[in-house]
Symmetry: C2
Subunit: 176 residues, 2 copies
DNA sequence: GCGTGTCAACCAACTAGTTGGTTAGACTGT
DNA sequence: ACAGTCTAACCAACTAGTTGGTTGACACGC
């Protein structure tokens, strides 16, 4: 098999391997040797392309968050559906939930990526607007309401009995 | 200063130091040397008393879970209050939330301690009984309802805007 | 002296990160 | 088309430091 020298392809392979490794073992538990082996290239490539193990993690997380933010736009007039779609994404890509979980545990709330922060601000504004126009109940603060909905969407993180229907029904009940 | 030779006291110090270390860094990120140093004793003690790093983690988690299970008995006729009390415990001892989070991420749902499992079964039964007697709505399965309540109690895991009042109100809304 | 608790010193295995040198493939002038 | 040149992707082998875990000697109370 001919050796392919393709910067972007190699970076993509490393990112894919890193996603699996970090999701399974967290930052501290991940091994750069395993990532390189799985990507089928040398460990030095990680340092050439990403700088360090932590930088690689940050990049992987950034990409995954961006993917979700893009794939699941908020629908303030249908928050149960929004939670359901988030739930779907987490079911299809459980790595994201693990990744975010490890990131939260190892870095706390402070180290939230800018992309996520901006998207969050926009979503709070959208919820607040929907509250003003009467589509959503006003007895929860916009930020709190969004937090509740998002938290419900990660129900699968805390229990194996989580189902999409349960999440949707629970959010609907919160809004009643 | 005289050296104190007290098996139980040393074990307790190690457990306390291990709790802090594991909560902060997880299993993979925790360092036995740091645990021993913080406990003010040699790391050989960890292996004499607990066998291995993982065994020590298991013991720490077991103790913390038992503490919560005992400190916060379920009150099926007041699930908002139950969630609130769980929230309080997690606020007072954030280590438990981290510990459980790491355990869940690194071992999945399979490796749940027997103590937790038994307590859970009892709680589901208590919720089901309350549903039969009409104290709780019956449109959620007992297991699902308990999962929702417990999940709400760990709201602080997913958002910094979590407050006790928010958790209590959200659970109350779920039951309406 | 004896059993128990303690620890400094130790080790083999492993870790993230580096380096010197190699080579595929694109570009060049002819 | 084609030999010569250069750039950048690539990696085996290495370094320096860290890791979980062990052990033999010592300290203490009886």
């Amino acid at each position: 098999m001919a050796v392919v020298r393709d910067r972007e392809a190699t970076k993509a392979k490393l990112l894919e391997a890193a996603l699996a490794e970090f999701a399974k073992h967290g930052i501290a538990g991940a091994r750069v040797d395993r990532i390189a082996a799985k990507a089928g290239c040398n460990k030095a490539m990680i340092y050439a392309y990403f700088g360090s193990k932590e930088d690689l993690f940050d990049e992987v997380l950034r990409i995954q968050i961006a993917r979700v933010v893009e794939a699941v736009p908020i629908t303030p007039d249908d928050l149960p559906g929004y939670a359901g779609r988030l739930f779907d994404v987490y079911q299809q890509q459980p790595e994201l939930l693990s990744l975010a979980g490890y990131h939260r545990l190892e870095n706390g709330f402070e180290a939230i990526s800018k992309a996520e922060g901006d998207a969050h601000t926009e979503k709070v504004a959208a919820v607040a607007e929907a509250q003003r126009s009467g589509v959503l109940p006003q007895d929860f603060d916009a930020e709190e309401l969004l937090a509740l909905v998002v938290h419900m969407s990660i129900l699968a993180f805390s229990t194996p009995v989580a189902t999409r229907e349960l999440v949707v029904r629970a959010v609907a009940r919160l809004l009643s």
